[in-house]
Symmetry: C2
Subunit: 333 residues, 2 copies
């Protein structure tokens, strides 16, 4: 196992310490239990927006805490759901009296623990709503999930939902935005290589030098199929077809396209993939009007990518364009 | 070779096409010869700032074209210097009558070709100055360089120099800022794994599963030494000591710290490394007041990192904080 780490058990706390030291202008990191909040929160009268999940997917979610996106994030151990006490403390910390939204990726542990935290927070008088993202078209059920997995759309949902909350919309409205993004979003991923969980010390799966896995999950859980390595053109065609046909996205649609690297894939390849994706969609009459290209929801050092589309309307486009200032995503008005 | 590409010879043009399609609001991409310019250039009365080098280091340099940073970038083939005609065309394209600065990483081919382009541009009546970055403390001469290599400080120099040009300072002043950043900056890199140049089809070097290379160059050219894999703590101590002692940085100094991933290293490890670096510098009485953490000057999918320090004063701090809007680096006023 080749990693820039000290002891496996210290990876998450030490990376959190690095984040805290690096971004004190945007975030505060609490430990025992671990959660990250906006440095300027809680904001009175604003819906608090929270997410969380296993570590190893950075910058998601902790890197998305800040103005215009999340109010807090709860990082679990690597590829392990955070615990209800983390989520409860985060919920209390961001409560500005207008309620708190939990954005939850559809993994059984995450869903269960966020539900438990919501119940505990409600018992303390905090209004809580939850939206579960489940955008992965690859498989119906998976190793850690009943139903579809929540993956790339979560990043887009966190951005747009955070922007809606920034406008002081109600909890019901903010939750509706998040649900809308999820409903209009679809994703598929693929891997060229496995990743290695620090505690495990060896690759999660073996993938021969001439094979790839299509439809992989963000923890390396099995996808749709293994096959011989193909060209970027063929890979995008396969994945984009699965995504487009699922919603379906239709000629005349305007979409946000998100080409995501899994952690070990360099940017030069992601731009090449984006080029293929734009050409593919053009052929279908689908127009990319917004895009995000980079490694935002990762699987440690896995090589590979995922493609996410979100159908846009005026509301979602404006929410995407709204200012955001987080360690992982940042632009001005 | 596992990559998300089509044919090896098409990697650079197809990635450039992806960049052009993705970032039409910020950049324009020209081909034959290849160069990238600001979409809103040339800007009359502003010094044009140009850089360039082999591809495979993305987002550097093309991703740094835009408001507040570069006016143009010239991408060569992967790990291959761009040609004088690219640099000449880029120089002419960004000339707003106030002269053009070439920021050149110290590699023999880059330096030679930029000199030739400068001579050609001068013959056409354009005032040109050049600054050569040479911040790598690892080796005195290397496979492709006489003298020290230009590496991480180039990213910081491009940001600060671009900000100075934005203020409409003279060519002489803008060049002086760039030179100052280089003079106050030092870098050292390391690799856990090799990268594979698409045309070559096999790793540039072999590195056993239990070894790393300290002082590696950004093309995988040899560093200072190979040794057994060490902890993040030990790695940072080794590299930071070499950097600190070289300038030297002293107790009481304020610095910008740049923890850079080489392309295949995930963000969670970079934050862990940043934590080690901040602790190391604290022990020396050196204070990090600005920082950049992420993969900005990469070596394709190489796993590893580099550490750059730049000693700050008020001028450089303000230039760092100034607004920038490029595909690879972006923040508001």
């Amino acid at each position: 196992m080749k990693k820039l780490i000290n002891k496996a058990e210290d990876v998450v706390p030490e990376a959190l310490a690095g984040m805290a030291a690096a971004h004190a202008d945007m975030i505060k990191v609490f430990t025992n239990p671990n959660y990250i909040v906006r440095a300027d929160g809680p904001i009175q009268g604003k819906v608090g927006v929270i997410s969380g999940g296993g570590s190893g997917h950075e910058p998601m979610h902790g890197g998305f805490v800040g103005m215009g996106m999340l109010d807090a994030a709860c990082p679990g151990a690597v590829f392990t759901s955070p615990t209800p006490d983390q989520m409860l403390e985060a919920t209390k910390a961001v409560n500005g009296g207008a309620g708190v939204l939990h954005i939850v990726k559809n993994y059984t542990g995450d869903v269960m623990n966020f539900e438990m935290a919501a119940d505990l927070a409600k018992a303390e008088g905090i209004e809580v709503a939850a939206v579960v993202t489940n955008d992965d078209v690859a498989v119906k059920d998976s190793l850690y999930t009943a139903g579809r997995r929540g993956v790339g759309v979560t990043v887009i949902a966190e951005k747009m939902t955070g922007a809606a909350a920034e406008q002081r919309r109600s909890l019901k409205d903010v939750a509706a935005v998040c649900q809308k993004v999820n409903d209009l979003g679809r994703t598929m991923g693929m891997a060229l290589t496995s990743c290695t969980v620090p505690h495990a010390g060896k690759p999660t799966f073996d993938l021969p030098e001439d094979e790839m896995e299509i439809g992989i999950g963000i923890h390396g859980e099995p996808g749709r199929k293994r096959m011989k390595l193909a060209s970027a053109h063929e890979i995008v065609e396969m994945m984009a077809a699965a995504v487009v046909e699922d919603l379906p996205y239709k000629s005349g649609d305007e979409v946000l396209a998100f080409v995501n690297g899994m952690g070990g894939t360099p940017l030069i390849e992601l731009y090449l993939i984006y080029n293929e994706l734009e050409n593919y969609l053009k052929g279908k009459g689908i127009k990319i009007t917004r895009r995000l290209i980079g490694s935002y929801i990762t699987s440690l050092e896995m090589a590979g990518c995922s493609l996410t589309l979100v159908k846009l309307d005026d509301e979602l486009t404006k929410l995407w364009d709204a200012p955001v200032k987080t360690p992982g995503l940042r632009w001005g008005a």
